[in-house]
Structure formats: C-alpha cells, structure tokens
Symmetry: C2
DNA sequence: CAATCCATTTTGTGATCACATATCGAAGAT
DNA sequence: ATCTTCGATATGTGATCACAAAATGGATTG
C-alpha cells in the first residue's frame, strides 16, 4: 500500500540478544570457561537483565553455556575427554547432512560452493585469520543448507556453538595456514562428490574434513595423545568385558 | 556429619517446571498443536509466571514448542513433509548411538536390556497402553545411555520430545499390539548384536526398529502416501537437475 | 442471517523490586 | 606470614507491575 516505508525488525529483544550472543560465540569473542553475568551483559547490550537471562537459559539448553553449581554461567569448555566425543557426533551428523545434500544437489549449488570455497582460499592467502574461520563456516553451512532439513540445520548449529570459542585459538597455532589449505582441497572433494550425486563419497569427504582438522587441532591444543581414529564397526576380543 | 537429615532438592523452580513440561510432552499429555499460555501453566503448576516463561523458551529452543507470529506458544506439530525428515535424522543419530553402545557394551548391560524388553513385552500382553510407550522408551534410552555420550543423549532427548505428543495417538490405532510385538523382536536383535559387539548390525537393527514403527504410524496416522524408504547412496539420473 | 465495529479481556514482553546465597576484601587473631 | 572472620558487594532467582498487541464477545448495522 505504501512503499515509502520499509519493514522494520519486529523480533523481541530477547531474540536479538540470543542471536548476538550466538554470533559472539561462533566468532570466538568469548573464551572457553569465561564467566558471564547477566547484569554485565545487559549493560553491554544496553538492555535490562530480563531479555538476557532468557537468552542465556536458551544457550544453556543448547550446551553452549554451562551453569555451575554456584549457579554462575560460563562458556562451555571442551575437555580432551569429550572433545573426541563431540567431534565424532559432528562427523556423523554433518556427514549425514552432506549425504542428503549430495542427493538433492541442483547444479547451481555446486558453482555456488566453488565460489565460497574460492573466497575461503583467498582469505587464507591473505592471512586474514577471521576470514579463514568465517569462510570455512560459510562453506560448511552452505552444504548443510543444501541438505534442506531444518532439523539438521538446528542440530548442527548447536554443535558448532560448542566449538566456536575454541576455534578462536586456531589462528595462534603454527601451521594453521597449511591446515586450512588442505581444507580447501577436501572441500573441493566434497563439491565434486555432490556434482556426481555420490552421497557416500560426499559424506566420507566431509567427515574427513572434520576429522582431519579436529585431530590437527587436538594435537596442537591439547598436546598430543593418540590420534583421533574413525570408530571401528567390530570390536576386537569378542565377548570380553572391557577392562577398566 | 549428620545422617539424621537427608539432602533435599535444591534445583530452581524453573528447572523443575522445565522437567515437568518435558515429562508431560514425553508422555503425550499435550496434544500436537495445543496452545500453551504462560499464566495458565503457572497456575496449574502453582508458581508465578516467571519460571514458566523461561522453561517455555527453552522448549522453543529445542523445537518441542513453536512460537507463532502472534507470539503464542503451541506444541510443535509434525506435518507429513517434515515427519520423514525427522525420522531419518532419528535413524542416523540413534543408530549411531546404538553403534557406539555395541562397541562399549559390557556383559551386564545386555541382561539389563533383556529385562527391560521383557517388561515391555509384558505391558503389551497386559494391554497396558501407557506401559507400552514407557517400556519402549525405557529400552531405547537404556541403549543410548550405554553409548556413554552426554552429547548424543542430549540430542536424542530433544528428538524424542518432538515425537512425544504424537505418540499418544498410537494406542488408538488398530493393530498397535502387533506393531509393538514386532518391536520386541527387533529389540532382541539389537541386544544380540550388542552382545557380539557387532556395531554395524546394532546400528542397522535399531534404525530398522525406528523405521518400521515410523512407517506403520505414518500409514495409519497421515493416511498412506508412499512408504518411508532408507535413503539411497547414489541418485539415479546422474547430472540431471531434479525436476520441480 | 452475516458482517462489522468497539469495549473488554487475555497474553507475551520488558523492567523493576526483593531476597537468599555466593563472592570478595580487609581487618584481626594465632 | 598464614589463616580466620565478618561486613560489603555482587549475582541468580522469583514475583510483581506496566504496557502494547492480539483475541474475544456482544451489540449494531446492512
């Protein structure tokens, strides 16, 4: 009726706080283990504590934040023990998303992915640390959106939330450039599989991308330990109770 | 120091409201699409609106509830379109949990699972509708807990939340007894695979359990449509754009 | 009979207050 | 110097209030 005005943002303050905290976590603007207080965040965001506490509770539900017995909130920290656990879940879920994406891929999406991957590569050569993380994330989520499943996208979103804070450390690790370069190559392998609608290979390649990056990071951040292996499908020593 | 008193529940009201709503959803005490209001729930629970709105927001984050543009809350309803989508995600995630459980299974867990499955079977023969759903859930989550992954347990918990409300319909469908009986048999297949630490078979059998029950329910609840098939790994018609 | 209008009620949202508990810091004791 | 103690401050939690937007339900009009 009237094109002199444009639609404005009608979302609730709580929703915007939630999204803002989410972005901050994705981009590693909070450190793992960092303590967050409602009033401090409210002051920083320029609102009352009310919307903040609801947003924080939602993030606790997603395991992005942890509530200590003291009832204080802290950014979820990954210990070595559950690091592997979360990585393996990511390989399964995100691998499955890639599988779905390969089955549903329309030709346009692959050229789009190549474009995203090229920008990712340029950020690497430009030594743009923020751009590398962003480019990698951009590529992955473009694949997951091609899977055309809100359910999956939601789950994967919470999985990534958990890793955002530790990803900020990546840029300070020596050899990250080479690691990212290998990522570009594996991404191309994912795209090629999607082009052929080869779901199995797309899944494998994407899980490989996650696993390779994860075990590189694990080695440098947690300091060695054995490698992160794909899980076997049959356990050796049939019928034996696992020794504790 | 003093054993004349016992520990009491020190969780927040909000947490208890959240758990209560969660249980209500699991047990199908809310109908899909039902509208929930904060004040009404608060009155029914005997608290102020404050803890309720936080609990509700958490459930929205888990996709168990939906917030309409009117900003009213309703129990998430499954349409035929995304029913299959969620079921397939469940097959992947819960199948993976079974795979993990098979690798980690200690002998005790299998006898425990058989016991749970027997109780499940007894509920069926006793025509105890509530007991059937509960027994089935009990078995599944016993398997998932054996996977020893908090991450997985959390994800699967939210997946089940989504299906709780529609599960209440199962008891009114003719032939549910036979369906549940087949479930007991497939459960046994899962247990046998776990005993042999055959992770691949455990995963397959558990996904089969979900898929069989889901396509039975789908046929009777949504009324026919084609069957729910496991996803192919290669698409026919290579390089062809999918017709819309 | 159907549609419209308007007063009333309901409902989510944000802000503020009250309070119990936890945390911190300085003064004091051993 | 180290530990303890105690007042002051900070923090999460629950309740209440205020308000705008939506839903409701008659009364009125065509």
């Amino acid at each position: 009726m009237d094109d002199r005005v444009r639609p404005i943002d009608v979302t609730t303050v709580q929703e915007r706080v939630y999204q803002e905290l989410r972005n901050a976590l994705y981009q590693g603007r909070f450190m793992p283990g960092e303590v967050l207080t409602i009033r401090a965040l409210a002051a920083a965001l320029g609102t009352s504590p009310m919307p903040v506490r609801e947003a924080i509770q939602r993030l606790v539900t997603e395991n992005a934040l942890t509530q200590l017995p003291n009832r204080t909130f802290q950014v979820a920290a990954l210990t070595l023990e559950n690091y592997d656990e979360w990585i393996r879940v990511r390989c399964e879920v995100e691998g499955y998303a890639a599988q779905r994406a390969a089955l549903r891929a329309r030709p346009g999406i692959c050229t789009e992915l190549r474009k995203i991957n090229r920008i990712f590569g340029q950020a690497i050569e430009a030594r743009d640390a923020g751009g590398m993380l962003e480019g990698n994330q951009h590529f992955h989520f473009a694949v997951y959106e091609a899977a055309d499943s809100d359910a999956l996208l939601k789950i994967i979103g919470s999985l990534w939330l958990r890793f955002g804070p530790v990803l900020a450390f990546v840029q300070h690790i020596e050899g990250s450039i080479e690691m990212f370069r290998r990522g570009v190559a594996v991404h191309e392998r994912v795209i090629a599989a999607m082009e052929r609608h080869d779901a199995k290979e797309a899944r494998f390649a994407l899980a490989l991308d996650i696993r390779a990056a994860a075990s590189w990071f694990r080695r440098h951040h947690f300091g060695a330990g054995e490698e992160l292996q794909p899980e076997p499908l049959q356990r050796r020593g049939l019928g034996q109770a696992r020794p504790r």
